[in-house]
Subunit: 585 residues, 2 copies
């Protein structure tokens, strides 16, 4: 009873063993993560086109719900860059940014995404995420990083504009660059330079100043907080907002309000596909972060339970004026490095953010959006990794095509087109590759019972026997190719009397392949050639017993290829020398 309950409520597991020491560790981690999350939450809300408080709210209820249902000990959920970009793209299609409909649609998106994740978790459909190949994910994240960074440049320049694709954004920037606000640019560029500097240099500096490795790591993550504090004070002190510097402005003070996401049929229809993509992409990102953290402590996470945790978190966001969320890499690493031992650290972070929402929001009134844009740019540029193109090219043309198409289409057409095309292309290329299996004609290595490719090795063959080794499972896309290859060989070499298909690498045979083998058997019979199989694996043999092939087979099934040639070649080609290679090969 408790076991099945604690499958859905992991808190029942770790909650029973919660100690005073864990409490101390979790509290410390929560303080550090809370400080880091405030600017990050504001920034990602801005990236999604939402009011700043949506980012804070989206880090309160979701964190609490994930602490209850999630299976990772250290994962910190909340708004993240890629999901915020996808939110902006999806919601921008149904409402104009800044309107009440826009914020409402973001809640609907979070609600749909939560529902999808929850359903996937209950029906254990986590494996569906596997159909997003690594090249597609890597390409998509890199392209998203580029899109996000470019989209924030206008805040650094202090100009208007927008756009969903790279060409649109660049055109809009080119048009607006003449109206650049020099004060905004100074603040934004200063913040950028400082953030890049502290990212690279602050940690070594702190280490030299005597901080421990861990403390230096955490303190160096506080760079964005410092940038926020300094630029906010500058704007407030010098009244820069009166010189055209765009600021965050009034943020409501108080705990997240209860909201009811709109679920009108048109809105749901328009947002369902984006919600599905956000769910899957968010899940993949989050699980990969959670697995990395768990492995460091020789722990495991349960992907289906992660779906439930993330689903609950998104539903929480939808009902508390938030936005779509998932597990974030940076915040989770800080959480774990700061010593978080259990999901209670997440709960304490939520309390910390709740206090911030109650007390600190007036202080961020003068925070310049250019600073937030700078923190976003610095954060997402670490996502951009164009070397994946080079690696994929070196590894295989198919993987390269998938990466290149995903990056290209995401930048040029949009995030949904990029992901969808990537998935379709990887499936098509996989089918294409497995539809042209490696098929080798093999012969006997002299003095052994081993068989090798006649093109690569000096082997013994017999003109009346053709042995074909198939290096792929047989299914509809490649079955006919095998049939064609065998029939071509038999037609061009009239001496062939026996064909043996060596199934040592065939892991499965589907009904199309069985039909094709049946046809091959019948056509070879018409040519007075018998068909044999050898080295058929147990599960494949079990399957073949369910159909007529073994009954109709003109030849036999041999346990080993050695058995096959021992039985076939002495009997039928006694006079012929057993060492001549087949003519013309």
């Amino acid at each position: 009873m408790r076991a099945s309950l604690s499958r859905y409520l992991p808190i029942l597991d770790w909650g029973r063993h919660y100690t005073r020491a864990s409490l101390h560790s979790d509290l410390l981690a929560a303080v550090i993560v809370t400080i880091m999350l405030i600017p990050q939450s504001l920034a990602y809300a801005m990236l999604a086109g939402l009011p700043p408080e949506a980012g804070i709210y989206a880090s309160i209820a979701p964190i609490l719900l994930y602490a209850l249902f999630g299976s990772s000990r250290a994962l910190a959920v909340g708004p993240v860059a890629v999901v915020s970009l996808m939110t902006a793209a999806a919601v921008g299609q149904v409402a104009a940014q800044g309107t009440a409909g826009y914020a409402a649609a973001a809640l609907t998106l979070a609600g749909l995404s939560g529902g999808i994740l929850l359903l996937m978790g209950v029906f254990r459909l986590g494996f569906l995420a596997n159909f997003l190949s690594h090249p597609v994910i890597a390409g998509f994240i890199t392209a998203s990083g580029i899109l996000i960074a470019v989209s924030q440049l206008r805040h650094i320049l202090g100009i208007g504009g927008g756009g969903d694709t790279l060409p649109q954004m660049l055109t809009s920037l080119a048009r607006g660059v003449g109206q650049t606000n020099p004060v905004t640019l100074a603040i934004g560029a200063g913040a950028l330079v400082f953030l890049f500097w502290q990212r690279r240099r602050l940690k070594p500096l702190l280490r030299r100043m005597g901080l421990s490795e861990n403390a230096a790591t955490i303190a160096s993550r506080a760079g964005p907080v410092a940038a926020v504090l300094v630029t906010t004070l500058l704007v407030w002190g010098l009244g820069l907002d009166r010189h055209g510097v765009s600021i965050v402005g009034a943020v409501p003070q108080g705990l997240p309000p209860l909201t009811m996401p709109a679920l009108s049929p048109e809105l749901v229809r328009a947002l369902l596909v984006p919600a599905l993509l956000i769910s899957v992409i968010g899940f993949v990102e989050s699980v990969s972060v959670a697995q990395t953290l768990a492995a460091k402590r020789r722990q495991r996470i349960n992907p289906d339970q992660e779906l439930i945790g993330l689903g609950a978190a998104n539903l929480g966001a939808a009902f508390t004026a938030g936005m779509p969320v998932t597990g974030g890499f940076a915040r989770s690493v800080v959480n774990q490095d700061a010593g978080a031992e259990t999901p209670a650290a997440g709960a304490f972070t939520a309390i910390g953010l709740g206090l911030a929402a109650l007390a600190l929001t007036p202080l961020i009134h003068y925070l310049p959006t250019a600073t937030l844009a700078a923190t976003i740019i610095v954060a997402v540029l670490s996502l951009v990794d164009l070397s994946i193109l080079r690696h994929a090219w070196a590894y295989s043309r198919a993987d390269f095509a998938a990466v290149a198409a995903t990056i290209g289409l995401t930048l040029l057409i949009g995030v949904e087109a990029g992901v969808s095309a990537g998935v379709i292309l990887s499936v098509a290329l996989h089918l294409w590759n497995t539809s042209r299996p490696h098929i080798a004609e093999v012969g006997l290595v002299p003095g052994t019972q081993h068989f090798r490719n006649i093109l690569r090795h000096e082997v013994l063959t017999d003109p009346c026997l053709l042995t074909i080794r198939v290096d792929e499972s047989l299914y509809f896309a490649n079955a006919r190719m095998l049939e064609d290859r065998v029939l071509d060989r038999v037609t061009e070499t009239p001496s062939i009397r026996h064909v043996v298909l060596m199934f040592s690498a065939v892991n499965s045979v589907d009904l199309s392949a069985v039909d094709s083998l049946q046809a091959l058997n019948a056509r070879l019979r018409d040519m007075d050639v018998t068909l044999h199989l050898s080295e058929v694996k147990g599960p494949v043999m079990d399957r073949l017993r369910r159909c007529h092939l073994l009954h109709d087979l003109t030849g036999r099934v041999y346990l080993s290829q050695w058995d096959a040639i021992a039985a076939l070649t002495p009997a039928l080609c006694a006079g012929a020398p057993a060492a001549s290679p087949p003519a013309g090969r």
Copy 2:
């Protein structure tokens, strides 16, 4: 030069060796096929909703062009049942039956289909047809047979109506059955009974009367001609057309006119997908007929050249007032059985049909449509084979699902939905199956160097070593599953120090799987467990050398699993007994 020319013009091959004996055989075959084709062509034109002469015209230029470009010696192209049904479904969506626009759209469809086939042939894309799995083709042909048979019942009853799906047709029949014309029903039912009888009984009867096997086979195929003659004479003699019996009526006398298919953008857009499906389905049917015939003479056909031959034939149909065509089973078998030796037999058949179009069309004025409907019903019922459902069920649930969905959707929604859903479902089920590979934990069979599944055999294992055999190529859809399984095992058994992945059945590894293996390697390293590979195939090893995995691998790559355990277990577990099964498994 000649070799490359004769790739595109097979006539250059067989034409050079054409003999007087071949001429005699081909002429005889042509006479027999011509007689058989006249009623068949009229019937399939009616099935497609086209005027009867379209069927005759579609058997003249296409046959000639196929004789020039096709690679099969005996294939006879022309209108066939399934393609005619698909034509009716496609053209019915853009124009009303009986209008000039309808016949024009059929020409556009033939032209598009010819263009698609030709392009596929030039770019050697014949392999695309392999993505139509056998269950989908079998299900589609069976469902089409049912749809065609039911669609012809109204002609037997002499009532109006129509419909594209089974429910529509049955509703329409139920509504119209009260208006049944008794004379038409008598003719139709009589023709049906006669045709069924002659199909089963005429050949044995003729054999007993002393005809040779071959002559009896051919004569028994002439049943439809006899039915046509008798019922036409009956209608003409008794003036039955004045009693409401629907007849073919006036058919223009003369050779096929030259036509120019309409290619307006809207029409092309509306017909492109149907044309693609018709091309692929027609190609698959035709190639399977051609291969069956060729194998009987130990000949080969060239699928890419078949595409060119069928493409030319369809373009020919488009420019001579025809309709979409492909290689037909019945006519090709009769052609080969009647002794056709070269494609010249097809050319002579075209001449015969041309003469028929010039001279015989007045004679078919009184031919009742009920007779044509009866010949269609008898012909297509041989396509209906519901036993595929039983076979597929016995073989695998995945194949059954593909068959059942294709049959169900074809009958209930339509031919295009049926084929498309079948293809998508087979691809999805294939991915689903290969995404859950068989992964076995293996141990050493005592006294041997063989390794077997620990769940099925008494084998030796070591608590510090986990050996996993993967029975599937690794790609994006299954890579993470392997990672999860290994990490689960290692997390639950803290004694494990080494993991060996036995790659004996892994035929390929894509970049996603490499990334997953990299992640597994890194996570195991975090747990102080080394990762090794064994029995990696040559092509897989070549591929892995192109990436960092082998460099980063914490363990080694062993040629054989025996080498791996010989190296790992004595060194690291010298004190432990080497014969205990792992705890709890």
